[in-house]
Symmetry: C2
Subunit: 414 residues, 2 copies
């Protein structure tokens, strides 16, 4: 069962939004053990959508289309499927009734343009959309199953889970299991050399390397009759990788550094706070993205203006005058001040120069300090890139250095 993805939308081609739907569907297909080798994006153009459907049908057993099912006139997926299948469009009176009911029950009047969401290609079936008004479409075209889902992720995902994946899984029980080991602090080529012989020997499981977000990830993927079997094939490879990389590995699969840090803190019964300047709340935002963060996280003081560092974090004005606002003594004072203000056991503090104009120090200079009940560490980093990259890397570095402090690793030993 080979599955392709076709995402529709001129906004994707023009770069106005990222194709996160393909990301979500790809993830789900891999998890379901369905082969997936190719994705396509085309704009809101009926002929080009139809041509892309044709091309996918010549290669794949199933095609999942997203986008172009809305109520406006640039929503052309329904018509393009009919064109590719060589069938007419029909009007579905039951669907009209469902649309009118949905609008009425929400106390609003349905714009008449929404009636196009009651049309479908002859021979197709509608797929229920529990979260919105646009139904999906399923149709058999020669040897390929074609599914069309809405482009809005919150509507698309439940339809994929409830109606598409189970249908496709009915035809194929092979399971692909992929395990991701996440490392930080060493280059992709250095990791690649440490594991080169494993890579050469690998056919099933396979090994791959991926650099993103400042991390190097090692993906081990196995294919077998069942998920358990595939998982068992991965275990010995993972053990060897761990033996070679040690504490460079900080998490597995979707264990982000924020998840790992919160778990370590909760195990010790310690609370956390942040004191942020250059990162402007990004570290707190990442920590609070984790459900249950409130069991550990007290809060943050984002002391963007220097006066706020002094008034709210009690950083002595003399210290700023003597060392500058982007300095190790100020970072430590911010952390100590926030510990008191937030009544937190552990604080990570960041001050830095994110650009585009230098502030106190050259752009990319970032100072991270972590204070715990067992001691404190501080380090000055030089980060590459523009404002966005400096801020993102600074957040990641701060969380990773916090993780190392909690593991008892001396930052200088990296």
């Amino acid at each position: 069962m080979i599955v392709e993805i076709l995402a529709i939308g001129t906004e994707l081609l023009l770069g106005q939004i990222v194709n996160s739907n393909a990301t979500r569907i790809g993830e789900r297909l891999a998890d379901a053990g369905l082969d997936h080798f190719l994705q396509t994006v085309v704009g809101d153009n009926e002929a080009r959508i139809a041509a892309a459907i044709d091309a996918s049908c010549s290669r794949a057993d199933a095609l999942i289309i997203t986008g172009g099912l809305g109520p406006t006139k640039d929503d052309l997926t329904r018509e393009a499927i009919a064109r590719a299948a060589g069938v007419e469009m029909i009007f579905d009176a039951d669907q009209e009734e469902r649309l009118r009911e949905r609008w009425t029950s929400s106390g609003r009047v349905m714009p008449e343009s929404n009636l196009q969401q009651a049309e479908r290609p002859l021979g197709s079936e509608l797929i229920a959309n529990p979260k919105g008004t646009a139904p999906g479409i399923r149709i058999r075209m020669a040897d390929t199953w074609v599914f069309a889902l809405p482009g809005v992720p919150a509507e698309m995902v439940p339809m994929l889970e409830n109606s598409v994946i189970p249908f496709l899984r009915g035809d194929d029980d092979a399971a692909v299991v992929s395990r991701l080991l996440r490392t930080w602090g060493e280059s992709e080529s250095a990791i690649g050399e440490r594991l080169g012989d494993l890579y050469d020997a690998s056919t099933n499981p396979t090994i791959a390397f991926l650099a993103s977000g400042g991390e190097i990830k090692i993906r081990i993927t196995a294919k077998a009759a069942t998920r358990d079997e595939a998982s068992a094939m991965i275990d010995p490879i993972e053990a060897t990788v761990r033996e070679r990389l040690g504490k460079r590995i900080f998490g597995v699969d979707d264990e982000t550094v924020e998840v790992v840090v919160l778990r370590m803190l909760e195990e010790r019964g310690w609370t956390l706070g942040t004191a942020e300047s250059a990162t402007g709340g990004l570290i707190a935002g990442r920590i609070t993205s984790v459900p249950g963060a409130s069991r550990v996280f007290r809060g943050s003081v984002v002391s963007y203006a220097t006066e706020v560092k002094e008034s709210l974090l009690e950083v002595p004005g003399d210290l700023v005058a003597e060392h500058g606002v982007v300095s190790e003594p100020v970072a430590i004072a911010m952390a100590e001040g926030a510990r008191g203000r937030l009544d937190a056991n552990v604080v990570v503090a960041v001050t830095g120069s994110a650009g585009p104009d230098p502030q106190d120090q050259p752009v990319g200079t970032v100072v991270v300090s972590v204070v715990t009940p067992e001691g404190s560490q501080v380090r000055t980093l030089q980060l590459p890139g523009d404002r966005e990259r400096v801020r993102t890397f600074a957040s990641t570095a701060a969380l990773q250095l916090l993780r190392m402090s909690l593991q008892g690793v001396d930052w200088g030993s990296r």
Copy 2:
């Protein structure tokens, strides 16, 4: 000049990263007036990469490939281009020298595996990579120019700007100009109905609608001999759209709500602070993403724990006991407290229940308050979706309500 994009990486198919490179290149192609109708993604497989290159070459005048140029063994783009072009790989001694110099100058020893970055298909030229070790490749295949760039965005973007776009622009001077009018507060179909006749009449300029991030965007796109001409064709359509939509439009092109809010505050000489609970620093993080935010932004108190709301923002404990922590009186008290603590003229405060477990109120209940020198407003919202969506929408709603307060719009009039 029709240009396609081919992104390479099994991590893209498995959904481990989003295809942000295609987004960036697409944006840049549109801006340069180059037609772009199709994007493809394939994994780290030499035969499939070669097949995708072949298919693109049959449709397009130019193909931009990203990814697969790194130093590890799953980097196969060089070999796949050679296979598609039917040529041999050669070793480039000059490139070897550049690689060794680069590693030596950064004080490190080059892993020998990096030497594969000195190989290239016969007949190709290398494209300089000012930000990294992997050079790009340019080769002519029949009627198509093929470019291969690294997958790391910070390396890819300058190479695109310096070496690819100018080369392609040399063959074609048509300009496509796209202008985006950003609205908030009304549904896509309602906006579509208000502008339906404009849509029907549009061929050049064209009009399209796009829903993302809680906004409805209206894209007006014109094609002409020059950028100025295309821009002038857009002006009258924009005027009509503005007449019909009024203050629903808050920004143009890449003017995010945070950019608009900071500009309005700076014009008035007012400073800004935030007091955040459910959003956990996201609003501050978005505001400080804008270069120059420090001219306006004082800082934020992320009072995640209820005790921090009381100790640091001076929210009376009685108020929390009587109304609950997710309530309008508490949101106003947070804003007032932060105004004093941060010495800011304007504060936006958010308290809410982001889930997965309800906190005080059902998941999705979010209270936003804005206090300015001219008065205060407060509103309780019911937001749909999971934790991530509630937090993102709450940040957006808070920034939009702040924008409306600064424009003197009564929130109740929406």
